[in-house]
């Protein structure tokens, strides 16, 4: 099993990770915990699985891309 994990913007700087690959996880919340060594999760952090918005209790599967990022500020 391989999950590709990405952090963006201020969250990448806070967590200190841009991209990482992890295994043995079943939900986005577990991805966060494993990737960040159980760092405290900011209240407003957003999660996307395979480029679609998801929840922390959303399930992940082998080959998924899971991204964490702060509130968006484009436009």
């Amino acid at each position: 099993m391989s999950i590709q994990v990405k952090f963006f913007a201020s969250l990448r700087e806070t967590v200190g990770i841009g991209d990482i690959n992890i295994n043995h996880v079943s939900s986005a919340g577990e991805v966060w915990d494993l990737a960040t060594d159980k760092a405290e999760r900011p209240l407003n952090v957003l999660v996307a699985i395979n480029l679609e918005y998801a929840q922390f209790d959303s399930l992940v599967n082998d080959g998924d891309e899971v991204a964490f990022f702060p509130p968006v500020t484009g436009g």
């Binding site: 990405k6 963006f8 913007a9 201020s10 700087e13 407003n44 996307a48 480029l51 918005y53 891309e65 991204a67 990022f69 702060p70 509130p71 968006v72 500020t73 484009g74 436009g75």
Partner: protein, 145 residues
């Protein structure tokens, strides 16, 4: 329908004219509504000298496609165009362009307004500002008032 991420400074009016010519809808549309968001040199009481726009490339492209499709389902549109800058942005530079063409005015006007709100609240872009106190990430988008 067309959208793209633009890494370099661009002229929004030229982009509209160029798109409109290629669209071949010249005598079919009666309404064109556009919105252009551009960089101010001032935000939340502090002078801003430079901005850096980061995005999540794989997700933004798909998200802009979906936005245009949703707008087209909801309103009777002849065409839409979305352009969004990434990278280094200077004061007065355009950041985002939305353009909508329709036969009658409300479709173009309402779709344009809806598209910029959706994009602001959902598209994965992030702004980092350079001020005299250093760099800072913009915490969140306002309601635009």
């Amino acid at each position: 329908m067309s959208n793209y991420i633009e890494p370099l400074s661009f002229d929004p009016w030229q982009a509209i004219v160029k798109h409109q010519q290629q669209a071949d809808i010249a005598t079919k549309f009666g309404a064109t509504a556009t919105f252009i968001g551009s960089m101010r040199d001032f935000n939340e009481n502090v002078d801003v000298s430079l901005m850096y726009l980061e995005h999540y490339p794989a997700m933004t492209q798909g998200y802009l496609d979906k936005l245009e499709q949703q707008a087209k389902q909801r309103w009777n549109l002849l065409d839409t165009l979305i352009i969004h800058r990434v990278g280094e942005i200077n004061p007065a530079d355009p950041i985002v362009l939305i353009a909508c063409w329709s036969a009658h005015r409300r479709a173009a006007l309402d779709a344009c307004s809806w598209l910029i709100e959706e994009l602001k609240h959902q598209a994965p872009f992030w702004k980092k500002e350079t001020t005299k106190n250093g760099e800072r990430w913009v915490a969140k988008n306002t309601d635009g008032l």
